[in-house]
Symmetry: C2
Subunit: 236 residues, 2 copies
């Protein structure tokens, strides 16, 4: 029963969208899980909904984790902190890191996996984030997998093995996009920016800078910007 189904963590960004399209090709039934956690860029939720619909997921589960806003400690959830500008620093946790966020996401996914009887979880962590986000490293994904197996009744009673898949783990942003273009990911419906201005990317925050550099390296204009520009022209 468990074979052929998976849950994908879907934020609405490039990486999770690519992971979702990868999962579509690997599993018969795909569920998407998206979290509201008081993030500044909650516009990404609309993108996640659109992507889930376009991917034809079996169910798109939205979970409210806004308690993470109260925990604080991040520029992504605390409006008194400023989102940094410019590229990602070469190493060290950045202020847009949300304490234990991905670990919380992973175990909440584990709870849904247990209730749905699903043993496979897909997460779009990748090499470009590793220097700045501890919870995107391969050892983090392995540790999450070990905890899910240790703490779930799927493993305890039913002797099933829970697996955490990280199809992008060795890839940097341009290679993720190259993979996604082959898979048919509609990047015009992915959102990255941490500090949206009137529904448009700011172009200055680290994730905007990284996104722009990646599309430049791939050699195509960012499909999101192309779409937004087209829509703007239509409105005028």
């Amino acid at each position: 029963m468990e074979n052929g189904r998976c849950i994908v963590l879907l934020s609405g960004g490039i990486d999770s969208a690519t992971a979702l399209w990868w999962a579509k090709g690997k599993f018969e039934e795909v569920y998407a899980l998206t979290f509201l956690y008081g993030q500044r860029h909650s516009v990404e939720l609309e993108y996640a909904k659109k992507l889930a619909e376009m991917a034809g997921v079996r169910e798109h589960i939205l979970v409210d984790l806004t308690f993470l806003k109260r925990v604080g400690g991040s520029a992504l959830t605390d409006e008194k902190m400023e989102v940094p500008e410019g590229p990602y620093p070469p190493e060290g946790t950045i202020s847009t890191y949300v304490p234990l966020r991905n670990s919380v996401f992973g175990v909440v996914a584990g709870a849904y996996m247990e209730v749905y009887g699903i043993t496979d979880l897909v997460i779009g962590v990748h090499a470009s984030d590793v220097p700045n986000y501890p919870d995107t490293r391969p050892e983090w994904a392995s540790a999450l997998e070990a905890l899910l197996n240790a703490g779930s009744s799927l493993a305890f009673d039913r002797k099933l093995r829970i697996r955490v898949h990280t199809p992008l783990v060795g890839l940097k942003k341009p290679d993720i996009i190259r993979l996604g273009l082959k898979l048919g990911v509609p990047y015009e419906w992915t959102w990255s920016c941490y500090s949206p201005v009137d529904g448009k990317p700011c172009g200055k925050c680290p994730t905007c800078v990284q996104r722009a550099e990646a599309f430049a390296e791939v050699g195509i204009p960012d499909p999101l910007l192309v779409r937004l520009e087209k829509e703007e022209k239509k409105e005028v």
Copy 2:
């Protein structure tokens, strides 16, 4: 700075109260963390507050995780499911297990630890729960510790080692109570019952049965029942 401080997961029951008093003797500053997760027996929160006050914790943090109620899959959070009666079964996950609950609690604690700069977490998991709750086993606690170290900037940037302490891990309920009596735990302010009736324990659910058996083995009447009886007499 991190030395001498810890966070204790405090439900308001016998085990976490004992863990709290153990922590009081080991750490200079103790923080307590209590979760509201849509549990039927939310009366335990009042007991947790009372215990935190009596223990003189530095801060008692209450966190709303009622999204776990929506996840469902447990008699503790789903009112359509019945809480079982009688003793715990000899093995196998019981319907009062909440999917991934303790793992969620552990990583949320990790988020607070990071924001507070605290490296030590104390959890009152114990041997009596092991046959029925996968997320109370020693291997679960080790896996949680590994995930916290893999996913936290305390370990990543500051090279600190996060430790999960399980002082009751080898103990069964009567031995926990014996330890707690030595430590001065006010068991009259601990709550166990899953199905409270008019603010009183039902006496029938597995945790009531286990509690009664434990106090009988220790050879003292349950201080909670003694107190409730005394108060009832006063009211009449």
